[in-house]
Symmetry: C2
C-alpha cells in the first residue's frame, strides 16, 4: 500500500510537527493542500490542545497528524539543577535576572491518559510519536478509532523495535534533521546516522513504509528520498518561514542568515539533544552540557535568559531549531510550499 493510501493523503509529504514554532494554522494549510499537516502537542496545555484540535476540525476535512512526545518525566534533581543554574550565573548577572525567582517545572509533557481522552473526542486519522511509543494501553486506545500510528527511528534497532510494536509507518530521522533527535534506545550520539545511510538500511529491514526525514529541502530532495526507497518524506525546516508558522523574529532572521549553515546537536535548551543553529550560549558553554538537567527540566532555567535576550532582538539564548539544510526555507504560504515540494522535476 502506498503511503498516500495508508494515510488518506494526496501528496507523500508530511509537515513535521514542530513544538513551539507552530500551531493549528500550519497543520490546516498543509492538510488542505494535500499533504499531511501535523499538530505538535508536547507544549500544549489540555485546554490549548482542545482548542487547537477544534480549530483544525473547523477548517479541514482532510486527514491530519497529532504528535506527542513519549518520554518518562524525570524526578527533579536539586543538585543537577543547582549546577546548571551555576553554569548560567554569569548570564543571569548580565541580564539582571534574579535566579532565585525562576520557577522549576517541566516544559514538555508526554502523551498520557488525559491527552488520550481529549484526542478521543477528535479521532485524528494519524497520531505520531517521538522518543518511542506510549504505554501499550494508550497505544491501543489510539488505534481503537482507526488512527494510523507513526514514530521516529534514528537507528535500524529503533526501527525494528517500533515495527514489533505495531506502528503503521516509520519515520527514518537522519542526523541532518532539525529539532529533537527521536532517539530512544541509546543516548550515544555517535549512533546517529545521516539520511542517506539510514533510509536504505531501514527500508531493507522493515516491512512497513518508511518516511525519510532530515536534510530534505526541496522537490529534488523529495525525489532523492523516494529513490532511496522511502514511501514519503517528513519536512520541517523548510516550513519555518511560512506565515502560518509561529517562528519568532530572531529565529526567522537566523534561518535566513549565513549562521544557518552551522547547526549542532545541543541539549542546553531542553536536556535532550536537538539540532539548532549555533548561537552564543551553544558556543560559550559547548552544545552538549554535562550538568544540563534531564529532559525537559533544562528549559526552566534558560527561559528567562531567552526572553530577556529576545526582547533585545537577540537569539543568543533561543533554541534556533533548524536542520542542516535550511536552503529550502521560503516565506511562502504553506500550501504553495507544499505544492512546490511535491513537484518532482
Amino acid at each position: 500500500m502506498t503511503l498516500q493510501r495508508l494515510l488518506g493523503i494526496d501528496l507523500s509529504i508530511i509537515q513535521a510537527p514542530m513544538a513551539g514554532v507552530q500551531g493549528s494554522a500550519l497543520t490546516v494549510a498543509v492538510s488542505n493542500a494535500g499533504g499531511l499537516g501535523s499538530l505538535p502537542c508536547a507544549m500544549l496545555s489540555p485546554e490549548a490542545m482542545r482548542e487547537e484540535l477544534a480549530a483544525i476540525r473547523n477548517q479541514t476535512r482532510k486527514p491530519y497528524n497529532v504528535n506527542f512526545f513519549c518520554h518518562a518525566p524525570p524526578a527533579p534533581d536539586a543538585g543537577r539543577e543547582a549546577a546548571w543554574r551555576a553554569a548560567l550565573a554569569a548570564y543571569y548577572a548580565e541580564f539582571g535576572i534574579d535566579a532565585s525567582g525562576i520557577p522549576a517545572g517541566p516544559g514538555r509533557s508526554p502523551f498520557d491518559r488525559p491527552a488520550a481522552d481529549i484526542l478521543a473526542e477528535f479521532k485524528p486519522a494519524v497520531v505520531s510519536f517521538h522518543f518511542g511509543l506510549p504505554a501499550p494501553e494508550l497505544l491501543t486506545r489510539v488505534k481503537a478509532w482507526g488512527a494510523k500510528v507513526l514514530s521516529s527511528a534514528t537507528t535500524v534497532d529503533e526501527a525494528l523495535w517500533l515495527e514489533a510494536r505495531g506502528v503503521d509507518a516509520i519515520i527514518a530521522q537522519g542526523v541532518e534533521a532539525g529539532g529533537h533527535r527521536g532517539m530512544f534506545l541509546s543516548d550515544e550520539l555517535s549512533t546517529q546516522v545521516g539520511t542517506f545511510a539510514l533510509v536504505p538500511q531501514i527500508v531493507r529491514t522493515v516491512k512497513v513504509p518508511v518516511i525519510a526525514a532530515g536534510g530534505i529541502a526541496d522537490a529534488k530532495g523529495v525525489a532523492a528520498a523516494l529513490a532511496l526507497g522511502a514511501a514519503g518524506v517528513q519536512i520541517g525546516t523548510a516550513y519555518l518561514l511560512c506565515p502560518e508558522a509561529t517562528t519568532s523574529a530572531v529565529h526567522r532572521a537566523a534561518l535566513q542568515s549565513e549562521a544557518a549553515r552551522h547547526t549542532a546537536l545541543t541539549n542546553l535548551f531542553t536536556g535532550r539533544p536537538a539540532r539548532g543553529i549555533v548561537n552564543r550560549i551553544m558556543r560559550e558553554l559547548g552544545p552538549i552540557g554535562s550538568t544540563t538537567p534531564a529532559f525537559p527540566l533544562a528549559t526552566a532555567a534558560i527561559a528567562p535568559l531567552r526572553a530577556a535576550a529576545e526582547r533585545r532582538g537577540s537569539g543568543d539564548f533561543s533554541p534556533l531549531w533548524s536542520g542542516q539544510n535550511a536552503s529550502g526555507c521560503r516565506a511562502l504560504p504553506a500550501a504553495e510550499l507544499t505544492r512546490q515540494l511535491s513537484r518532482v522535476a
Copy 2:
C-alpha cells in the same frame, strides 16, 4: 559538461581512494569496468608509488585517479607523544610490548615535489586531493599535463575555497563517509553535515560538477545522489570486500557483522577524525582523544598494538574504516560491483 566527459569515463562512479586497504589492483579493475579507479598514495614510499603506477599503466588504458593528502606535516611534540603513550600504557602491558622501542614517525606523507616528479612520468588523467589542495606551484605542475583536479569539500565554505583555486570538480563528502574527513577550513566536528544536506547546498553554490560521497551503497543510492543534483558519486565502503582490495581479515569480518551498524568519527588512529567501526580502543578511550598527537603522528604509537591484536585475530586496535552504510559491501569482483552500482533501477 557531464562528469563522464570531463573525466573520460563511461560510468559516473568514482572508486574512493582508500589508503591502507587497496593498491593498484582495485584501481585497474574499476577503471577497466568503466568507472574511475583510484590509487591512494598517502602511505606509499616513492618506490612503491612508482611500482603501483607502472602496474596501472600496464593493465589499463582507461583514465584513473591518483590521490594524495595535503596536510602540513606537524612538528613532533614530545609532551603530547608522552601523554598519548601514557594513555596506551595499560594496553602495552597487556600485550607485553616494550613501548620504549616504538619508533616515532609519520604514517602518511603529503603531496610534495618528489611525488609530483614521479607523477609527471605517468601523467594520470585525474588527480584528487584530500585536506584541501597542495601549494599553487605543485597544483600548476599537475594541471600542466592536462590532469583534471578533484578535491573534497565537507562544507559550503570549503567548496567555495576549492572552486576559487581552480578544481575541476568537487567531491561533497557527507558525514556518513568512511575514512578521513576531508575537512580543512575548520576542525570543529559540528560543521560536518550529512550527504542529503551537503550535496544540494554545494550544487547550488558552485559552478563545477559536484560528486556526492558518503552513505552511497547501491544503485538506488547512486540514483538518489543524482536526483540531488550530483554529477556523479564517489563510493568507498562498498568496495572493501572486493577480492582486489587488501582489506584485512579482521576488517572484512567487522564489515560483515552487526558491529558495522555503529561507526564513529575517531582521531585515535592517525590524529585526524576519520570514520570507522566502533571497536575496543574507541569504546575505552572515547573515539576523540584530546592528547592524541597531531596527524599523522598518532599512528606510530598504536601500530604495535594493532599488529599484536591482529595476530590474535582481533580488530580491537585496528582502524576499521567504514561509512555509516556498509549494507552495500559485496565480496564481488570490483568490475561486477561497479556495473551493479551503475545499474539504475
